[in-house]
Amino acid sequence: MKFPVNWLKEYVKIPISIDKLSYKLTMAGLEVVSIIKKNKEPIFDIEITPNRPDLLSLIGVAREIAALLETHVKIPQTKHFNSSKNKPLLSIEIKNNAKCRLYTAKLIKNVKIHNSPAWLKNKLDLMDIRNVNNVVDITNFCLFETGHPLHAFDYDKIAGKKIIIRHAKSNETIITIDGKKRKLTNQDLVIADKEKPIAIAGIIGGKNTEVTNKTKNVVIESAYFDPISIRKTARRLNITTESSYRFERGTSLDMLNYSSERATNLIVDSTKTAEPDIFIKKSYNKKISTASKTIKLNLKKIEKYLDLKIDRNKIISILKSMQVKCKLQKDFIKAIPPISRQDLTRDVDLIEEIARIYGYEKVSSAIPKPSDKNLHEVNQLSVFKKNKIVRSTFINLGLNEIISYSLISKKDLKKIKYEIENVIQVNNPLSIEQEILRPNMIPSLLKIISSNIKNNNENYFRLFEIGKTYYLKNNLAEKNEIIIAICQLQETNSMKDFKQGKLFYNLKGILQTAFKKLGISNISYKAAIPQYIYYPGTFAELIFKNKKIGTIGYVLEKVCEDFDISSYRLVLANLNLDMINKYMKPYEYMYKKIIKYPASYRDISFIIDKNIYSSKIENLIYETEKNTVSNIEFLDQYTGKQIPLDKKSLTYRITYQATDRTLEDNEINKIHQKIINKLKTNFNIQLR
């Protein structure tokens, strides 16, 4: 809210500079966001926190300044007008006393409507409020001065001379003072006369009872409306007014009366002929307390809570400057906050007030000691650490980490043919682009790849993401996953490269090293019927302890096309991070003795059926000679010229090494021949 400094000075003496005052306010929780100048007048723009509706007024902030500067506020005196003894000229009926707990109206007769005096015009101008006429301007002025909104009606336009506070009827309409026709619902609170709504309660007045140049008698309304009801109606109608803003945050009873009395005084002053005639007050809700609860504030607690000793006289003087009534009793203070401070109900609330005015900077800074008893037993605590290890493993292998949106579109999910029934959606999405809580990490990754291809000219790049997927089964569930992609421009990855699975083995190599570093061994790759997005014949499931721990494969051209990345070849792996986290043993190394006897190598090249997996060949070799074969290294695979279509040529290098002696050449030759024979009988290989 805006606070013209010179206007504030009408209520409190400010002997310090504007910059110093601004700093003091900021450090007391009234953050001066900026200091603006308008008509050469300095204006503070202060962010008022939602717990302090009492500060949405010049008087409220002046009180705060007085407390900070240890001085007093000067609140303008008002003259009290008594109710007329004549028969009331206006009656009030509150039909919904849950939403309107108190309604007051003052009728002022023989008012002259004219332009406001210069002082009033200037003030409203500083607040960026349009001048209308003396009566309307005075109600606006009082709103800013006291924080309590008022509304002025043209008395003669109120049908039946009766004000009814009620719910609107369904489809009832009202033309508001801004000229717009508003359709109401039976949840909206309105001020009505005998025939029609004349205002949307607490939000905006109706055109039909507006104060105009012809108005002779006015009714000044000052009431308490339920904040929630006001907020709901204001939100639905998409109107925010100075009035609705304050009612939404909660108004206080002391200012309700003061504000309307102040307005009455000003109106009477501004037109000599005016005479306030009646004063009507209606209250149907006994729950409105006019007194606050007593709070017991233990002096030791203040010291313990803040780790700061404050003189008790200082404590009392701070509380008093906040209009809190105090009574010192031995070790505690009996405190009664003012009615305008509904936020002060407990001792900690008062401790905050004391610390805030005393100055947070006076509290020392102490670092807590590491405690020995702190959640040692909890397993889930290490998930973050484990994720961190996985993250650095892939980064160390040269991959770039991404973080994508977990909200995706139905359209993108359909592109990977994911069943979109029974997935979790956001019922109030910002746009259909972010409607679904992803049950799969592929679409968001492909979108990022797509935008990178559009904006960059990288021929080859590798990305990974650690993230969550979301499921709706019996209950809502989140899973941790890793997704990894290698992308290469097709021009630099020939058809031959593709057919030989160059990128596949590239990614598989990354996975193998990663799993090794994470201490997860014995992962097998099983050919399986691929999910829709993968290329048939390039797809494998990663199996660990008989369970699927992930998938790997080339992405279908159609999918690439749908995501606008068809100029690239793409290989993806999707891993179950929950499983990895469960089984990883990144620190549990066991040293294996380095064999001191020399190793000998034999290369073996042969032609074999295309469909026989390398893993079978390796297993057979190991099984045949457990003690002397220390390693089998795959060197090369070849298909094409000189090789029959249903065959492939493979080359391995076998390392022979014993742990207890040097193997002699003739012994190795014998073993090697044994292996060849075994391969011949089992797989019908032909040596090359």
Partner: protein
Amino acid sequence: MIKEIEKLNKEAQNSISSCKNLNELQELKVTYLGKKGRITNILKTIGKLPAKQRPKIGQKANELKNKISSYINSHKKLLENTKQEKIKEEINLDITLPGDKIPAGSKHPISKITEDICEILSPLGFKTVLGPEMETEYHNFEALNIPTEHPSRDVFDTFYLGNSKNAKVLETNKTGKWLLRSQTSTVQIRIMENYSPPLKIVAPGKVYRPDTPDASHSFMFHQIEGLMVDKNVTFSQLKGTLLFLAQELFTPDIKVRFRPHFFPFTEPSVEMDISCIICQGKGCRVCSNTGWLEILGAGMVDPNVFKTVGYNHNKYTGFAFGMGVERLAMLKYGIEDIRLFTENDIRFLKQF
């Protein structure tokens, strides 16, 4: 005999200095100094000489041996140098050419700041924990002392979850509608529900709010929540912990200030500002000329929160804090647009 020795000296000098390569030099060494070499031959004949001459001739012969040995050594050095010179001329690398492209991985800046903060607080005893992103109204609001009709519960401020089949609202009997958590403070509740004090935690993670994306808003971003509960936890410890964090994360000479603020789940509540890291507090565009940058919200845990989770609020006190990771990353790395974090442009990623 002496003449012979001098002659040999000259001859050796000449042949060694005109020698062209190391192999030849090695041959010459054998010729003169070898077991059957010429000097050795002279030394062998000394015995046959008259006793009077022996010492003098012997001395001369030994001198000659040393001389030749030093000729050879110095010429060897010369030859070696020449050889290196020659190699250098032949290879002569352009050492200014770039090296091979070794792909280096990169950590996303959000992960980086998150890990940094959790590591900074770890020596103070704060354990890093995680909580679910899909949460209930109870954990996101009610338990955090946010009343039923609070504006932040509006559909304008919180994403509510439904079944894609029929948009049916997902809700539980006891804890209300399912939503996407709008703050990591939910983890405070989750941890306090399951463990008893004392405890010290940090909880990083994603949060969601229906904010229309622009340079400083995103509907998905990251927060880190902190919580300490024990007997006699003080406001002073809150200040100390956060000062330590700011010093470690930015620079040891950073200044901080604590402004009173309002949060429903803390009392007193504060916002912490750091001296502007761009202008060192002099005032610039980034800090709107105030010299200060707001980086987090904090406070002493509100007794109502303790009551909700069943902690004795007369026995225990605590502090909590929460910060936006994107904002910290933007300040620390000078990133001007929050959308860069989710665009994941490789040119951006590779800088971290």
